[in-house]
């Protein structure tokens, strides 16, 4: 037969090992093998490979993977009418002895269908988490810097050193007319009132200009900042308050959006 002379491709030989050929294909293969030594050898080599794979022993289970029975509580909340079913002897023995302490309440809380949809949505959620975590970290660092700048300023001034070159905000605070209302709430970030505008300007550009301009004069009478508004960036206390708030918010953010590795691995 002319067809019997053609060699069989590997895919056909492999399928023949698993009895996946149609009866017609199988008949053709049998006829061909009776005359073709090359295909016989190829088939034998493939069979040998399969036999090696099948001869591999099953790996030893490192532990049992049964879930904690305590999950029943969270599970039955979904379907409350489910009656508690008696556990068989062998089952109770296994579950009590081999249950691993795995916290699964969090997994159960989320809606299911992991197989099809979870990877993409969890990946998107991860991006958001990462962004929020990064922003929180930045806020914490900025807050810390502000806080530290306030601390150093205080130590400089209380130490009564002769030169205070970096105290840009404190010096104009002494020279510029400031609102002394203690009760004025957060002027630096509030709607622009007249004093607030003044302070914003002061906190940005003018402060440094003033600082350099007054460097020669050096008015070294540090005005007490107790009377300054609460979140005034122009004052030490204000800066420290803002810094403290930023640090606090940042730390909370970092903690809330911290990496949840275990969960990520499951869902992705």
């Amino acid at each position: 037969m002319a067809q019997d002379d053609r060699h069989f491709i590997t895919e056909q030989l492999s399928a023949a090992i698993d009895a996946q050929l149609t009866s017609a294909e199988q008949a053709q293969l049998d006829a061909h093998l009776s005359t073709c030594e090359q295909c016989q050898q190829r088939l034998a080599a493939l069979r040998g490979t399969v036999a090696l794979l099948r001869a591999l022993p099953q790996p030893v289970l490192p532990r049992s993977f049964v879930l904690p029975v305590s999950l029943n509580a969270t599970a039955t909340t979904a379907i409350p009418e489910t009656p508690a079913i008696a556990i068989t002897k062998s089952q109770s023995a296994l579950t009590s002895a081999e249950t691993e302490p795995v916290s699964i309440a969090a997994y159960r809380a989320e809606p299911a269908n992991i197989v099809a949809h979870a990877p993409r949505s969890s990946r998107r959620a991860n991006y958001v988490r990462t962004a929020l975590r990064t922003m929180s970290a930045f806020a914490a660092v900025a807050g810390l810097l502000l806080l530290l700048s306030g601390v150093f300023t205080t130590s400089y001034l209380t130490g009564a050193t002769s030169s205070a070159p970096a105290m840009t905000a404190q010096q104009p605070g002494a020279t510029l007319p400031h609102t002394d209302d203690t009760n004025q709430p957060a002027p630096a970030f509030a709607t622009p009132t007249a004093p607030a505008e003044q302070q914003i300007v002061q906190a940005t550009g003018v402060a440094t200009i003033q600082a350099t301009a007054t460097r020669t004069a050096q008015p070294r009478t540090p005005s007490p900042s107790v009377a300054r508004p609460f979140l005034d960036l122009g004052t030490i206390a204000g800066r420290m308050s803002v810094g403290f708030l930023l640090l606090l918010l940042g730390l909370i953010g970092v903690i809330v959006f911290r990496k949840r590795r275990y969960q990520q691995e499951i869902l992705s």
Partner: protein, 225 residues
């Protein structure tokens, strides 16, 4: 020969599996939130899930973690399981998805995984050795060593295969799934399954034939193509 071993092996593996009706009952109870019922399914399938993930990745510790994750995920998603399809294939789909994701993640950062490997090489060796069950006779250490070497050689060969072919080979030749079940597990067409298995076997044969000295006499593979 090997072809005749397939169905027999499959039947043996399924002997300790639950009767189909019992399994359906347990699945139904699990869908009602009964962990105890689900744990019976876990006991029936944990060897299969762990074994397949271990063969796909070659690391018993990671395989154990992913197996636990797979069962947790399966319990969570049990309501999405529709009867009719093989429950084993459904479970293995979750397990192999986790294994493939892990493989891709670690392959994406090869330096990191290489470092980890170097760092934990010593610590891992006994763990891996313990996972490879001893099949040789106790009294003959030489044969034991050969067996372990051969197992490690095959495992290395498996890990060199492309991921899709490796998954197909593990499910077919090691776990004994039918082509239909593999198609369900990997969500591919039967023709794709057939071709992946064939290509994987051919590559593995080539790899193993380069280490003839480790192969048992009756498993010698020819290089003839």
């Amino acid at each position: 020969m090997a072809a005749e071993d397939g169905p027999t092996r499959l039947a043996k593996k399924n002997m300790n599996k639950l009767v189909r009706d019992d399994e359906e009952l347990l699945i139904a109870r699990s869908q009602g939130g009964d962990v105890s019922a689900f744990n019976q399914l876990v006991l029936s399938y944990q060897q299969t899930v762990f074994g397949s993930i271990f063969r796909m990745l070659g690391d018993p510790d990671i395989a154990a973690d992913l197996t636990q994750d797979a069962f947790i995920s399966a319990f969570r998603a049990i309501n999405t399981y529709r009867g009719g399809a093989s429950f084993r294939a459904w479970l293995l789909r979750i397990g192999s998805n986790l294994a493939c994701d892990h493989w891709r993640r670690t392959q994406r950062y090869p330096a990191e995984s290489l470092d980890a490997l170097r760092e934990e090489d010593e610590a891992h060796a006994p763990s891996l050795l313990n996972s490879l069950a001893a099949s040789g006779p106790e009294g003959n250490p030489e044969e034991m060593l050969l067996t372990h070497e051969l197992q490690e050689l095959i495992q290395r060969g498996l890990q060199l295969l492309p991921l899709d072919q490796r998954v197909a080979i593990v499910l077919c030749d090691i776990e004994g799934l039918s082509y239909d079940e593999i198609a369900t597990t990997t969500q591919t067409a039967l023709g794709t399954v057939r071709s992946r298995i064939a290509r994987g076997r051919a590559k593995l044969r080539l790899y193993l034939s380069q280490h003839q000295e480790l192969l048992p006499r009756n498993y010698r593979l020819t290089n003839h193509e």
